[in-house]
């Protein structure tokens, strides 16, 4: 199960933080700081997996953005790596050529996309098309 999802830039600014387990605000900030420190300086040739406390962080870097998923130690790392990529593809499709600024100004939409993709820490939909269509329907209701 996914414990939390973080999107951070290289400076460590959080662009999206979704927690599927309850944490105090102070604890969240600590986690965000630690995860950033953990992933930011790793060699690109290194694995995309780092052990984090009693869990595992699966991260992937796209340009200046780090997508990090914290998952259980027994979870399939490769699958979650693929999961990050699918999420990025969905964002890319939705914002057509996504960049960090899109995510900053439309952070609420990023959350909505995420809520269509992952729920309760589990994968909800694996079709990019289905999610984009669903987002279209929701946008119409605004």
């Amino acid at each position: 199960m996914i414990r939390f999802i973080l999107l951070q830039n290289r400076q460590g600014k959080t662009r999206l933080a979704k927690y599927y387990v309850p944490l105090e605000d102070s604890e969240k900030h600590k986690v965000e700081y630690e995860v950033h420190r953990l992933v930011v300086n790793r060699d690109p040739k290194f694995t995309n997996f780092v052990e984090f406390r009693t869990h595992k962080v699966i991260y992937r870097r796209y340009a200046g953005l780090f997508f990090s998923l914290c998952v259980d130690i027994t979870d399939n790392e490769l699958a979650y790596l693929e999961c990050i990529h699918l999420f990025v593809e969905i964002l890319d499709h939705f914002f057509s050529n996504v960049c960090e600024l899109d995510l900053v100004f439309n952070f609420h939409k990023v959350y909505l996309i995420l809520d269509e993709f992952i729920l309760a820490g589990e994968l909800q939909e694996t079709s990019k098309k289905a999610i984009i269509e669903r987002m279209g329907e929701l946008e119409k209701l605004e």
Binding site: R15, Y19, T47, L119, T126
Partner: protein
């Protein structure tokens, strides 16, 4: 009205925040915005509520407190429009979590929305519930969610399925309600519903054995078929990733099959074919394919044995291990750990590759590989593997050294085929990474060295060599200094030379040099310096020619700023200067340390008894009354480092000094002495050392036997115990001084045991500031059980004692007969004495030693005086 397109205020705020050059500026902007939002909240502003909440979410993401907006979420959720509800639910998930009481207020809104006619609103409510549901909400809303599992729109069904997972995790009792609806989800064609349905079944199996049985019986075949269909499905653009249709669904299905197959031969049998197909047919040139293979291998490893499949799985892992992609190698290492349980032999074949992974530059791989190597080691391969690991220790990163060192030490200890190998490897580790070695590890090393009698010379020479080159490794220096102190003579005289050793010429002065370096090095910590000081004291007796130099070094430390070192230096100097006659006995080589006791205490079976001894010098007023709980082995043991350092080495040293000569005192001293009797430090320590018979351990005998070799100093030290006592109120700063007093007062008086014949030395059985009692022993021929004791009382004060009365009591195994005293008046200042004969019969002769409680009453200047004491330091064989 859309808050984000019409009014641009959210965009404006984000821009303003982004434009800030400093953190202070940003704080100012945020403060202003928060003030405005608070004002709007107070005015109950309806129009901008959702925009304000959106701003708050952004502010919250920046790390500012936003709890004041929580009620706004609730208000938005309660409003009727979709856009308001959408922002409200989003805020609910971001600003609140399941632990907030406010959440109770939202249950009713959620219930209404779950029953809403607009399916998008139902979707919002399900999503929020799935992310923040508490146990109470789970109970209240489970029926709604259960119903929604059969909703016509698949988007709602998949959300409801994931929501159900959250509910059954919060309240496992609700699981049975979900078993049937979950099973029907497995028949779906829609991938989203299918994958969430499979996940729900997986989680149901985890919380309910009933569900597991049900799915195993009813759904295994169906799941196998679904997996086969998806694996064989033609190109499906919607779900295609790297040429594979929906790898995520593959993985979820494999995972559920694993749970169903585990421990059930029939179910396992049923899935063999499809697993074989997935394992052989899946493309492994892309991450997605490897993710499936990885999951498939895990399933094969976990279900009931099918030899052929396991070979296939291990081969896949072998391929993974040689992959150039680090991620793939990482998961291979991860899975090989599990494969160890299934087929250790097969994993052993990859040992060389795994060992290479330990040396990888990526910490994640290193860590996995090291753990795997740790599992791979057995008696047969421990030598080459340890060699590799130690070689790598030299070049590994600082951050990795800690882990690596711990693992090597543990391996070496666990599998060492012989002591010399163990010592060799440990010396290498200490030289390379001594600073990472934990205390208990080098303590254990010293215990082993101490027990390896024939290797003492070899070890001390090897350590001497090592410490010349690696002076910065604290623990190496400690072990080296300890060994040089104990076995310094062997270092210099090449005692016990082994064939494999290179000859080495070390002079006495070189050995002292090595120790001096340790004491003078700035980076040495207190423990090291204290150990070096003790080593020097020991060397002073081993190397008489260096005695003066050693004294100089010790004298230099007399002004040390650390109290402990200062005090020890003063004491040691005193020993060197004034007590030549007892020095050699004081610094005898330590008795062999007891391995069983040490390992037992390491495992925590014995309490940390050392604190009793180390605490003693500081607890003058009540220390004496403390029952001696510590077995002697504990007192002698090195682990006093477990307690705070300042007191440790002191205690250590004193045990060191006194422990060897304590043996005659092995009488029950559990009976506490009256506090008045003797409150001096040394008596305290001695009484601590006395051994309650019940606790005698094997090491005691070592100590006892070693003490028989030096009977003469033994009597001397016994004398020590009855030297002038301090007042009961003496405080700890006095202890150092009193210690010296004791030694000084005792220095010039070699006991007159020559007169008493060789058999039993006389004993100063009791001594206070005013009175001394000496015992002379003799035996009747042919009656070894009975001892005749002649007690002689001497008055140490300038006043005459009248009405002098001596009384004594003994435990049941002894019989005591007192003859009348020679007089009841004791002249002043030692001008005469009283003698009194005692006859003691020991029914446990040879097993237990004599012990006696005494009480002496007299009148001094017409004032009644009472003195009491316990004598437990009788010669042992009385």
């Amino acid at each position: 009205m859309n808050p984000f397109s019409s009014g641009t205020r959210l965009r404006d705020m984000i821009r303003a925040i982004r434009a800030c050059k400093t953190a202070a500026e940003e704080r100012a902007v945020v403060r202003k915005e928060c003030a405005a939002i608070r004002a709007a909240i107070n005015e109950n502003d309806q129009d901008y509520r959702h925009r304000n909440l959106a701003k708050l979410m952004f502010i919250q993401m920046l790390g500012y407190p936003t709890h004041f907006g929580q009620m706004e979420c609730l208000k938005l959720i309660a409003s009727s429009g979709f856009p308001e509800k959408r922002i409200g639910y989003l805020g609910l998930m971001l600003l609140l979590d399941e632990r907030q009481e406010v959440l109770m207020l939202v249950t009713n809104s959620l219930k209404q929305d779950l029953n809403h006619s607009n399916q998008y609103i139902v979707g919002l409510a399900l999503c929020a519930l799935g992310n923040i549901c508490s146990a109470e909400m789970a109970r209240d809303l489970a029926p709604e969610v259960e119903r929604l599992l059969q909703f016509r729109d698949p988007n709602i069904r998949k959300k409801a399925a994931l929501c159900s997972i959250r509910i059954i995790k919060k309240v496992p009792d609700l699981a049975e309600n979900f078993i049937n609806p979950a099973a029907s989800l497995l028949k779906e064609k829609h991938h989203g519903v299918l994958i969430t349905g499979v996940q729900l079944c997986t989680d149901l199996c985890k919380v309910s054995s009933e569900a597991l049985e049900y799915f195993r019986k009813k759904c295994t075949d169906g799941l196998v078929k679904t997996l086969r269909d998806i694996a064989n499905s033609p190109y499906a653009p919607e779900y295609d990733i790297a040429g594979i249709t929906d790898p995520f669904l593959h993985i979820r299905l494999l995972k559920l099959l694993r749970i169903l197959g585990q421990g059930d031969a029939d179910a396992s049998d049923c899935m063999n074919d499809i697993l074989a197909q997935v394992a052989t047919k899946t493309e492994s040139n892309k991450n997605a394919g490897n993710a499936i293979l990885y999951e498939c291998v895990e399933t094969i490893m976990s279900i009931e044995d099918n030899g052929g499949l396991r070979v296939l799985a291990i081969n896949i892992l072998g391929r993974f291990l040689s992959n150039r992609d680090n991620n793939i190698r990482y998961v291979a290492l991860n899975m090989l750990m599990k494969a160890m349980m299934v087929d250790a032999q097969a994993v052993q074949r990859h040992r060389a590759t795994i060992l290479e992974c330990v040396k990888d530059s990526d910490a994640s791989i290193q860590k996995r590989a090291l753990e795997l190597v740790y599992l791979l080691v057995n008696e047969n391969n421990v030598k080459p593997l340890t060699k590799e690991l130690i070689e790598y220790l030299e070049v590994s990163d600082q951050e990795f050294k800690g882990d690596l060192t711990a693992k090597i030490c543990s391996l070496v200890e666990k599998f060492s085929p012989e002591k010399i190998w163990y010592i060799d490897q440990m010396l290498k580790v200490l030289s390379e990474a001594g600073n990472f070695v934990k205390d208990e590890v080098w303590h254990a090393l010293i215990v082993v060295i101490s027990n390896a009698t024939d290797l003492h010379g070899y070890t001390v020479r090897a350590l001497y060599r090592a410490v010349q080159t690696s002076t910065e490794q604290e623990t190496l220096v400690r072990v080296a200094v300890w060994c040089i102190g104990e076995y310094g003579d062997m270092l210099v005289n090449d005692v016990g030379m082994l064939d494999i050793e290179d000859p080495i010429t070390v002079t006495e002065s070189d050995a002292v040099d090595a120790t001096e370096v340790a004491i003078k090095r700035h980076s040495s910590d207190l423990t090291t310096k204290a150990m070096a000081l003790i080593a020097l004291l020991k060397l002073s007796s081993r190397f008489p020619s260096c005695s003066e130099r050693i004294r100089d070094i010790i004298v230099q430390n007399k002004g040390n700023l650390v109290l402990e070192l200062q005090q020890r230096s003063i004491e040691f100097n005193c020993i060197l200067q004034k007590h030549q006659n007892i020095r050699s006995a004081l610094v005898e080589r330590m008795p062999v340390l007891d391995e069983a006791t040490f390992s037992g205490r390491r495992a925590g079976s014995l309490p940390a008894a050392v604190s009793t001894s180390t605490g003693a010098p500081r607890n003058l007023p009540n220390g004496i009354a403390k029952p001696a709980a510590a077995p002697i082995a504990d007192l002698l043991d090195l682990s006093s480092d477990d307690v705070p350092a300042p007191s440790s080495s002191g205690g250590d040293f004193l045990q060191d000094l006194l422990g060897v000569d304590l043996s005659p005192a092995s009488a029950p001293s559990g009976t506490s002495q009256p506090p008045k009797a003797g409150t001096d430090v040394l008596l305290d320590l001695l009484s601590l050392g006395t051994l309650p018979p019940a606790q005698s351990s094997s090491s005691t005998s070592d100590i006892l036997s070693s003490s028989q070799d030096n009977k003469a100093p033994l009597a001397n030290l016994n004398g020590l115990s009855s030297l002038p006592s301090l007042s009961p109120n003496a405080t700890s700063p006095a202890s150092a001084a009193s210690m010296m007093d004791l030694l000084d007062g005792f220095g010039p008086s070699p006991q007159n045991h020559e007169e008493n014949g060789p058999a039993y030395p006389s004993l100063v059985a009791y001594e206070s500031s005013s009175l001394r009692m000496t015992f002379n022993f003799s035996k009747q021929p042919g009656n070894p059980q009975t001892t005749l004791i002649q007690a002689t009382f001497t008055n140490l004060s300038p006043n005459v004692y009248n009405d002098f009365l001596f009384q004594a009591a003994v435990p049941k195994f002894l019989q005591l007969h007192l003859d009348p005293a020679s007089s009841n008046t004791l002249p002043a200042s030692g001008n005469g004495s009283i003698t009194q004969n005692l006859k003691v019969t020991n029914s446990q002769h040879g097993k237990k030693s004599l012990v006696m409680r005494i009480r002496i009453a007299y009148k001094m200047k017409n004032k009644e005086v009472l003195e009491e004491g316990q004598i437990s330091n009788f010669p042992r064989d009385l």
